[in-house]
């Protein structure tokens, strides 16, 4: 009885403490998404520049017009390329942090990999213009060394520049889950593998890699999801007419076509949520974060 009472009080305290954050996440995060999904099925009213409650799928049909389907596919493609490259860089880097460094260097590296995230993404994206442009440092070096006669044009305002900028910005999202996966590996397992005479590659491929795979998948997924939503790199580094889902939403809203913007938003959010849920179910990704705060 008494134990029951304690447990109930604990639950109530937990609920009260969770309340402010739930108000934020549900009230200003979730509810607008649900309303947008509803309004995306309404009809545009040219008199009020708003939607009127007549159910229609017109906005969803319009998704396939005017090259919008291409924008969806291109955004997904660029995000997939970004996620692949980021993961290929992050897995070895996280291994250096989790396996090949003492505690001091590990802390330093984690700091170095996370600090840029909190600094201006806008400035960091913009800085690539100086590096990749016609007069940039790379073209300067290439022409200076006589490797090319005229500046390489495709370095800037191209998909190459966009992916490079996004990789540089999103690597932290790939590294953090893998580092968390390393933290869950028992050091004795690795020591045992070494005692049995396994070298670096043997230990890495047969012991470490299977254990960090959930972290690698989570990292890929995080970068992909973040990259799908970014517009900054596309706008600052992409070629003429380069678009992404976010840029497209901004464009649609410039002509205040609310239902169409809502339809795009709904498709993207449903897709992202489905992706995260499926990955979480199959790989138990939330376990990576379980030991936080306990």
């Amino acid at each position: 009885m008494r134990l029951d009472e304690v447990a109930r009080r604990r639950q109530r305290t937990a609920f009260l403490l969770a309340l402010p954050s739930l108000v934020v996440f549900v009230g200003i995060g979730f509810i607008p998404l649900v309303l947008m999904a509803t309004w995306s099925l309404w009809t545009f009213d040219a008199d009020t520049y708003w939607v009127k409650p007549i159910w229609s799928l017109a906005s969803y049909a319009a998704l396939l017009e005017g090259g919008r389907a291409t924008v969806f596919l291109r955004t997904a493609g660029l995000a997939a390329a970004t996620a692949t490259i980021s993961t290929l860089l992050a897995a070895p880097a996280a291994t250096v942090v989790g396996l090949l460094s003492g505690p001091r260097r590990a802390t330093l590296l984690v700091a170095l990999f996370t600090i840029p995230f909190f600094t201006s993404g806008l400035v960091r994206a913009f800085a690539w213009r100086l590096v990749l442009g016609r007069e940039g440092i790379i073209n300067g070096a290439l022409t200076g060394l006589g490797l090319v006669r005229t500046p390489v044009e495709w370095l800037l305002f191209s998909d190459f520049a966009v992916v490079l900028g996004m990789v540089a910005a999103d690597i932290p999202f790939a590294i953090v889950p893998i580092v968390l996966a390393f933290a869950r590996i028992e050091p004795s397992v690795i020591r045992a593998s070494q005692d049995l005479g396994a070298g670096f590659w043997m230990t890495f491929s047969s012991i470490v890699l299977p254990l960090i795979t959930p972290g690698i998948v989570a990292g890929f997924l995080f970068v992909f999801v973040v990259a799908v939503g970014t517009s900054m790199e596309i706008q600052l580094l992409g070629g003429a007419g380069a678009s992404s889902i976010s840029v497209m939403i901004n464009d649609v809203m410039r002509v205040v076509n609310f239902p169409l913007a809502f339809a795009i938003a709904t498709v993207v959010v449903v897709f992202l949520i489905a992706l995260v849920i499926v990955a979480d179910r199959t790989l138990k990704l939330s376990r990576l974060f379980e030991h936080l705060g306990t």
């Binding site: 403490l17 996440f25 309303l35 070494q194 976010s246």
Partner: protein, 277 residues
């Protein structure tokens, strides 16, 4: 502390390759910003690297007279502070809730983290529509509401990490000695979490200061800093904008680096000798 306790022997090829990739990643992340910073010290109208002896702050001096930049900066600082003031206690409260929870923990965490993954433009659009329907005029307040949603997951995470360093037994001991739950929290838990609360505040402020996609939909008449800068960058960047970008980079890197090293120092002091893995 055992230095290099893990893999130490065996083939060096793998280690070399992995270390090279790590360095390459760091170069990609840092080199462009560093280059911009150095170029912004050029005395010429045309931005490029000059010998350190010719470094000049000409374009930085011009910043002082830029009125529109100053008011954008004011607006962003106001929004950033308001966001951090809200996000820090709400984040702490959520972290405490997570620790006290016995059921639905992973769902709660999933709700918190999932907010990070909704594209900024979509969050901003949805919120702006709701606020307009609620007859709330766009101003620094609406931007703050949007930025609260953006920064809160990070504030929660920082508080959770800080909380994991506070042993529940310390709190229980205070309770056993007769302190009420509030008293035990204020006297025991809170002082032990001071560092993480400061980090939470600074991170929330910086994330808000640099946020662009949500603010685009939520600002009133006054631009925030990233929006002003974005406009300036796309309309023939002047040396001023490089200087300003340089200043932003220096200030935010310094702030975050300071937080990190302060946290590491504290951790070392409190957990001397024990490897916390």
């Amino acid at each position: 502390m055992t230095p290099d306790s893990t893999v130490s022997s065996g083939t060096n090829g793998g280690r070399l390759l992995f270390t090279t990739i790590t360095i390459l990643s760091l170069i990609i992340m840092y080199a462009p910003a560093l280059y911009l910073l150095l170029a912004s010290l050029s005395p010429d109208e045309w931005l490029r690297l000059v010998a350190p002896i010719r470094f000049s702050l000409t374009s930085y001096v011009a910043l002082i007279d830029d009125r529109r930049l100053a008011s954008a900066l004011d607006e962003s600082v106001l929004v950033g502070l308001a966001t951090a003031v809200l996000a820090t206690p709400i984040g702490l409260s959520a972290a405490l809730a997570y620790r006290a929870m016995t059921r639905m923990r992973s769902i709660f965490l999933l709700i918190i983290l999932s907010a990070t993954f909704v594209p900024g433009a979509i969050e901003g659009l949805g919120l702006s529509v709701i606020l307009r329907l609620g007859r709330i005029h766009p101003s620094w307040v609406t931007v703050t509401i949007g930025h609260l949603l953006w920064t809160l997951p990070f504030a929660v995470t920082v508080s959770l990490i800080g909380l994991s360093a506070v042993k529940e037994s310390a709190f229980e001991a205070a309770r056993d000695l007769g302190a009420g739950p509030v008293r035990a929290f204020v006297d025991v838990t809170l002082p032990l979490m001071r560092g993480s609360l400061i980090s939470s505040f600074v991170f929330s402020f910086l994330l808000s200061l640099n946020e662009h996609a949500r603010a685009y939909y939520l600002i009133g008449r006054q631009n925030t800093l990233p929006l002003y800068m974005f406009g300036a960058m796309n309309s023939g960047a002047s040396p001023t904008i490089y200087a300003f970008a340089g200043a932003i980079i220096v200030v935010s890197f310094a702030a975050v680096a300071l937080i990190f090293f302060e946290a590491t120092r504290r951790q070392k002091r409190s957990g001397d000798g024990q490897d916390k893995r």
